[in-house]
Symmetry: C2
Subunit: 329 residues, 2 copies
């Protein structure tokens, strides 16, 4: 596997203004006080009120572009890396080009979707596109409104997720910053562990037999956890062997904020120290595809990852897909 120059020149985030505390959801669902914190590890999350997927992506992107000291005309590719689009078509990336006011025809826009790992795949593909050319500066955004797809009949997932967005601008760069390696594996024996049966051609929104439950998030947390526990270590070991890293050399492990148990897993079973692992689950919840880039932005904000530092972005996604991307930041 080759390595590629990849410089994350700018990072930005947007959090919906509305904070939703556990007390509100515990009241709504009739759960005992403290149930959510104990079960999920989440203390609060944000839900949109006026925000849209596009407006959140634009807010995050503007910060990232400004930090990169670029102008809108410099962005020649926009990748939407979210699990849910704003509308079925066109792709959300095209809507973001328009809402940003980026030049008409000045960029190639597309979406990609590997659910919670979409950002990691986008980062890999951006590195490859920069290498191919003529692309120079690529905007990647992950913007998720999960709150509209939650099912109050499934309290564990209902209380776990939050809305939010993050964006980065990546450039080819010339320094040490690189995509060092990436690994992705899909284990579709777990395709039903996390699913939304509706929203596509099988149970179309206009089909009168499509139900509320079909259009809602379903998750079998324990099954994902059990599979991920078994499968993550061999994949990571192969990746480390390929790129010549040891776990202790990593400055920041940026995990998908899947759940409290998934975070603990990283230290208990994968051998990382708590000081290496960045966690924002308590205040953000699981923000699906926005979760990893949001954690990356906040790790950088918190000084937990500095230029030249080694970062491992890692997580699980519906599929069941496991993924990890190693970068020198």
């Amino acid at each position: 596997m080759k390595t590629y120059p990849l410089y994350i020149a700018g990072l930005g985030k947007y959090l919906p203004q509305r904070r939703v505390h556990n007390a509100e959801l515990e009241g709504q669902l009739g759960l005992p006080e403290g149930w959510i914190a104990k079960r999920t590890g989440v203390l609060e999350r944000r839900y949109v009120d006026h925000e849209t997927s596009v407006s959140m992506a634009v807010a995050a992107a503007k910060i990232a572009i400004e930090m990169a000291a670029l102008e809108l005309k410099d962005i020649d590719c926009i990748i939407g890396a979210s699990a849910a689009p704003q509308q079925a078509l066109p792709c959300t990336a095209a809507l973001v080009q328009r809402a940003l006011g980026a030049p008409d025809g000045g960029s190639m826009c597309f979406d990609l979707n590997a659910t919670c790992l979409s950002f990691l795949l986008a980062l890999q593909q951006a590195a490859l596109l920069l290498e191919m050319g003529p692309y120079q500066h690529i905007l990647i955004f992950s913007s998720e409104i999960v709150s509209v797809s939650l099912n109050p009949r499934e309290p564990e997932s209902y209380t776990l997720f939050g809305d939010g967005a993050a964006a980065v601008v990546v450039s080819k760069g010339t320094g040490a910053a690189r995509l060092e390696g990436a690994a992705f594996q899909t284990f579709s024996s777990g395709a039903d562990f996390t699913r939304v049966l509706g929203g596509g051609t099988l149970h179309h929104p206009n089909d009168p037999t499509t139900t509320f439950d079909m259009n809602s998030f379903e998750m079998d947390g324990p099954a994902i956890f059990k599979q991920a526990t078994r499968l993550m270590n061999p994949m990571l070991e192969r990746l480390f062997t390929q790129i010549g890293w040891n776990p202790e050399q990593i400055d920041a492990v940026i995990p998908h904020q899947a759940s409290k148990h998934a975070m603990e897993q990283l230290t208990r079973r994968l051998g990382f120290l708590e000081s290496q692992v960045f966690v924002n689950l308590e205040r953000r919840g699981n923000c699906v595809a926005a979760s990893i880039p949001l954690a990356l932005v906040e790790a950088v904000e918190a000084g937990r990852l500095e230029r030249g530092g080694r970062a491992l972005l890692i997580g699980t996604a519906a599929g069941l897909t496991l993924g990890a991307v190693a970068i020198t930041f």
Copy 2:
């Protein structure tokens, strides 16, 4: 821009069994006899009855894998390149891995979406992934069930589209077969020309204010045509200059079967001969993202593109995105 080895080792297609002739739709919509053929150029199209997005993709993929003389265990990446997923999550590619019976964990699965140009983007990304490694054999499928999203109140689009699927297996190869170049540009001033407002976070299927029309296809054909007419030529000229091709050197122009007018455009304004342009619109309709790969498969079946031949895959997509990929087959 670099060029990359890219060998399309296998190709396959699946057409739904149910043929829908114009007379049926003209009767249903109260249109005069001959209206559809005159307006759209389509004589018949297929609609699914028992087929699903996944079952069609699997049927096409099996043919492609067999033609490539590979086994399921050889496929190490599956890219879903359709405008509409089978369900909101997980990605359709993961569902295809499972339905194919491909080894659990043996491939990375993800979807990408640039509407009608999804296959072209997937082809480009596959070439880049093969170059990066460790990927050796990538399955790309485009499987579209458009019939469920059509609106009888918009007869022109209602009668234009068809369902279908196509798949290819691409390998790095060693001969002359290459991705010679690619160009994509999104002009989001045309983002409303083709749209489905529902099916995402803005007008969620569970939102009681979401309407049938929001979940249906809307298309302003004349507006797309006018913009594409103006913008395609400059993009193509730049691509030809980059890769050193002349229009007359191309053995097969494989266009998105967008409409009769769009096909005519290729010969009238872009300077290709009718003998260069492959058209299957009359029998297939516009199959959205499956349209270009289906035309590619049928051009090869018809002997219109042979090994070592030069092909230009070209089209427009919702976005409005224009795209072209040049390959030596």
